[in-house]
Symmetry: C2
Subunit: 312 residues, 2 copies
Amino acid sequence: MKKYAVGADVGGTTVKLGLFTTEGDLLEKWEIPTRTEDGGKYIFPDIASSVKEVLEKKNLTFDDLEGVGLDVPGPVLPDGTVNRSVNIGWGVIKAADMMSEAMGGLRATVLNDANAAALGEMWKGAGKGNKDVCMITLGTGVGGGIIVDGKIVPGAFGAGGEIGHITINPNEKTRCNCGKYGCLEQYASGRGIAQVCERRLSETDEPSSLRNIKNPTAKEIYAEAGKGDKFASDLVDEISSMLAMVMSFVSGVTDPKVFVIGGGVSKNGPIVTERIEKFFKEYAFHASKDAKVVLAELGNDAGMYGAVKALL
Amino acid sequence: MKKYAVGADVGGTTVKLGLFTTEGDLLEKWEIPTRTEDGGKYIFPDIASSVKEVLEKKNLTFDDLEGVGLDVPGPVLPDGTVNRSVNIGWGVIKAADMMSEAMGGLRATVLNDANAAALGEMWKGAGKGNKDVCMITLGTGVGGGIIVDGKIVPGAFGAGGEIGHITINPNEKTRCNCGKYGCLEQYASGRGIAQVCERRLSETDEPSSLRNIKNPTAKEIYAEAGKGDKFASDLVDEISSMLAMVMSFVSGVTDPKVFVIGGGVSKNGPIVTERIEKFFKEYAFHASKDAKVVLAELGNDAGMYGAVKALL
């Protein structure tokens, strides 16, 4: 095993890069813009030349690297083929091979970003020391990553851990982006929480400090709930209950030891996990009730950590 | 690898035994009574002496065996400890060690019965050729076994694949045996189907051939549905829809390639899988819609096959 490795979290706007030791210490991180034009083909040489530059400053070369791990928003097949990533301009491309080629044959792997974050949190974050983990990322959407016995479950159709699109409300009349109705993402994503709030505010006359805020965000809703506003608190309970129900489904399938809650919504702190855990204990099968519910620790770096872990 | 292995499916009434080649050919099968008295401690020597007898007739000894694989109704920890099996009288016992000891140090493994059936069907039955499988056993209860990349997912708390206790109806007023309300098992097990039928018959005056049968069983309900009775057909749709919804949850977690439907209820034939598949295609996330839904092929032998596979 060589001493260093690079993780690259490829997003629609920037590529976050990290130089790691293969022990998992993040030595340096930096960003470059994501050039999505021409089918995103410049992303590979851009990463290669930026990594080369950083290595040179430390008197290192590609030869000192165990490899480069990428994580991307989109489905990834086991051979490193990305099956379209709209945000970064890629169609169906052999991303691992192309990255390897741009770096003179260096080993390269590609993971889906939610899976990479799960692997990162298991390796060096909130799931450390556990081999059976479910990570739930509450961001613009709801992402998920399932780890069984230390390995990501990619799924036979690349949809392993797509828990944001598990149906939680079969009676929903509004369609999810995925085409179905009542997906968890419609309620528990940052946007979903704000939309549920809007609905509930219009349905009742119940007083709430949220009525003084124009289009309350998830952050504002959690803040008011924390301050004791009953309406906001009930709303957080409603969302937390839906998340906990889906987590109880996950327990009935892979029965993880730890649920790691990440993404923008998780930045609202312990209230997020405490409320979820309360309902989870109620809904879970008796054997699985003691699964832990913890906040993610690696923030936006989780994907890079996981991308590196996938190389090892 | 030695040439032979034994599978032992330990049930509350009988132990089903099978002598297999390690290629997976079942050479001979037989049964012995399960002696549940004195904490079920006679089960191990009973299996040992019965296997010895069968081997002797073929001029074989324990030395010709790769090992003996057990499967039992109850949770099993990764080290082969059974964490109580009410049906067979076991408390918390190191069943693998005890089986090994009774057979002069021969290798022994223990699996949960639903997991063993899943592994068996993957190896030599309806899931053959696939590494990502979900088996659902519709019997007295609803059992499940999840296989990812060819391996059983036992779960951090031994509850991997407990899909019979996934909540499908949070509004249920009757309690499941597990203590929760609205578990899939309350509707989709043989007993559950009969109970849903009883409820629906009492709720409406809708004519049905089932009204001529006293306490219709799942078998009779499927039979009448197959003959075109609308009430029975709607009932089968209701049950199939619940099963398909839970299967769509499983797809959102491990995303299997194949769902294998086994157990007594599956003996009602293609109507079982056809109805489930119709709803599954409607509920599943787009990527996972093409997962196959097939009838189990190994019947009561599935557990023995899986128990042997676990040794290899």
